[in-house]
């Protein structure tokens, strides 16, 4: 079914097709349209979902935690400071092993107050125990949300999943999209039948009680094992999804990487813009390629190292600062992943696109120019820099 939808409309439609038991709903730009469109489906009787409007994101995630613990499939959508306000609950959802699905429409964090896109919100939550899957466009946002449900609910995984798309750039842009039939989606996600839940009278249990030192660590190790297990499950679910959609997904996408000597590693809509730059450079004989990281948690470190093993110079592009004074979060992960390679490529980090600063194809070409220079001179220069900002007056 071909159509033209914005990213927000696409995700709202995916949620309608999934028909979850509960949605915790609280608006925040740019994710507001997701609960807004879904509210219409609820009002029109097109879904059976219990739509719970609350007074904050802390509460919308609390609703999801409680509902999921009670055995109900729960979903949520938020952005930026909304995700930040959920922070406490994100850890609770993950550690209670509650496979909630959350659409995170990426937006900069305050301050200064800014409504536009970067990845600082979800990157801030990267260590919360949630699986994180990022989309390049509306199609991927739709597909990822549908795939997130069976990934999270798998007994060996049982972790919440955050599907991320770029605020405004993806959420508010109308583009062509292929939608699945609702029956196919319902069949794909299946019924949610957790083995144990609060209201199961045969096996009453408590969720989220105090965990004393002799047991807390065991539970954390189990959670870490679940995150490791998620990697294989994500690929299995992607393979099943390809059968019903014809669209193929991996942990990351390799674009023109076969013989690439210069490569980018980046996330989200910018990867699409960078693909156009790669095409142009290829026409001029430059062996350029890129890797679009789709799954950031669990991080595909070994796979990424293999994919970059034959490159000469790599620029990791971070769309969030991180303030580590040592590069952004994607850089930290990528550089760590490459450590075990025998011959490592030169590696630099470029922080870009903060608070909606546009990334143009020319900017990407400039980055490749820098990589080419590095391979010729053998000098990386400053390893961690920013791209596209005005120069400060001195």
């Amino acid at each position: 079914m071909s159509n033209c939808l914005s990213g927000n409309e696409a995700v709202a439609y995916a949620i309608k097709q999934i028909n979850p038991d509960v949605m915790g709903a609280f608006p925040i730009t740019p994710s507001t349209e997701i609960p807004e469109h879904f509210a219409q489906y609820v009002a029109d009787g097109e879904v059976d979902t219990e739509y719970v409007t609350v007074e904050s994101e802390h509460s919308s995630m609390s609703v999801c935690v409680a509902a999921e613990a009670a055995g109900a499939r729960s979903v949520c959508a938020t952005s930026s400071c909304g995700l930040a306000l959920m922070y406490e609950l994100l850890y609770i959802a993950a550690s209670c092993r509650l496979p909630i699905t959350l659409a995170c429409v990426n937006r900069a964090l305050s301050g200064p107050i800014n409504i536009n896109n970067d990845h600082s919100d979800s990157m801030g939550a990267r260590d919360s125990g949630w699986i994180q899957i990022y989309a390049e466009n509306n199609q991927e946002a739709y597909d990822n949300f549908i795939m997130a449900v069976p990934v999270g609910e798998t007994p060996s995984v049982r972790l919440p999943v955050m599907t991320c798309m770029d605020g405004f750039i993806t959420s508010h842009a109308v583009e062509n999209i292929e939608l699945l039939e609702t029956d196919a989606v319902r069949k794909f996600v299946g019924e949610y039948n957790p083995e144990n839940y609060l209201l199961k009278k045969e096996n009453p249990l408590a969720v989220g009680p105090y965990d004393i030192s002799p047991y807390y660590m065991e539970h954390k190790v189990m959670e870490a094992e679940a995150m490791k297990a998620a990697k294989a499950r994500i690929l299995e679910v992607a393979a099943e999804f390809a059968k019903i959609s014809g669209r193929h997904y991996g942990l990351f996408e390799e674009y023109r990487m076969e013989d690439a000597q210069l490569a980018l590693v980046l996330i989200g809509s910018s990867a699409g813009t960078a693909k156009a730059a790669v095409d142009k450079l290829r026409e001029n004989g430059v062996k350029a390629g890129l890797i679009k990281v789709r799954v950031f948690r669990p991080f595909p470190g070994e796979e990424l190292a293999r994919a970059l093993a034959n490159t000469k110079a790599v620029a990791v592009m971070d769309k969030s600062e991180g303030f580590s004074a040592n590069g952004g979060p994607l850089f930290a992960e990528t550089r760590s992943a490459l450590y075990d390679l025998k011959d490592r490529p030169y590696l630099i980090d470029i922080v870009y696109g903060l608070g909606g600063r546009d990334l143009k194809t020319e900017d990407v070409e400039e980055v490749f120019g820098r990589l080419a220079y590095i391979t010729v001179t053998g000098e990386t220069g400053p390893v961690y820099t920013h791209l596209g900002q005005r120069q400060r007056r001195r």
Partner: protein, 194 residues
Amino acid sequence: MVTNDMVEIRWHGRGGQGAKMACLLLAEVAGLEGKFVQGFPEYGPERMGAPITAYNRISEKRCTIHSNIYYPNYVVVLDETLLDSVDVTEGLKEGGAIIINTPSSPAEIRSKLRGWTGKVCTIDARRISEEILGKNFPNTPLLAAVIKVSGALEIERFFTDIEESFKHKFATKPQVIEGNMATLKKSMEEVQVG
């Protein structure tokens, strides 16, 4: 991928004039015609009357670029007063055109275009809209004008498809569809090219 068969359009308007809606409607209709499309507004502090920008890409192949449009083929200006404060022809490609909502003729308005020597099109969107719809909705006339001037879509097909979109969009107030269709047709006839 930027190819020669891609049409890029930049809309300039003021918050509340419907530039975003026209842009999204154009994307929807072009999509119905089997084109690959993008329609996206540039967001900032949202307030009535503030200058806003919106963009369209229409192509035969899916365009993966997700940056703003810096070198448009066509520029649409919903509010003549923006010519004083915004460099609307910035980056406008040679061989392209600018379409302005104004009662003035192309020759009269050209002096305000900071040296743009290419095609200038004008349409009195306010008058047309007020005559037919009874209110100033400049976006519908400008949408018709850009379809006519750009040739991006086949005109007969455009009318059929947009009527479908209106039926969907105005499901709760179908009485406005006829007026909007009449506005589109009248605007196509009235657009002046200079």
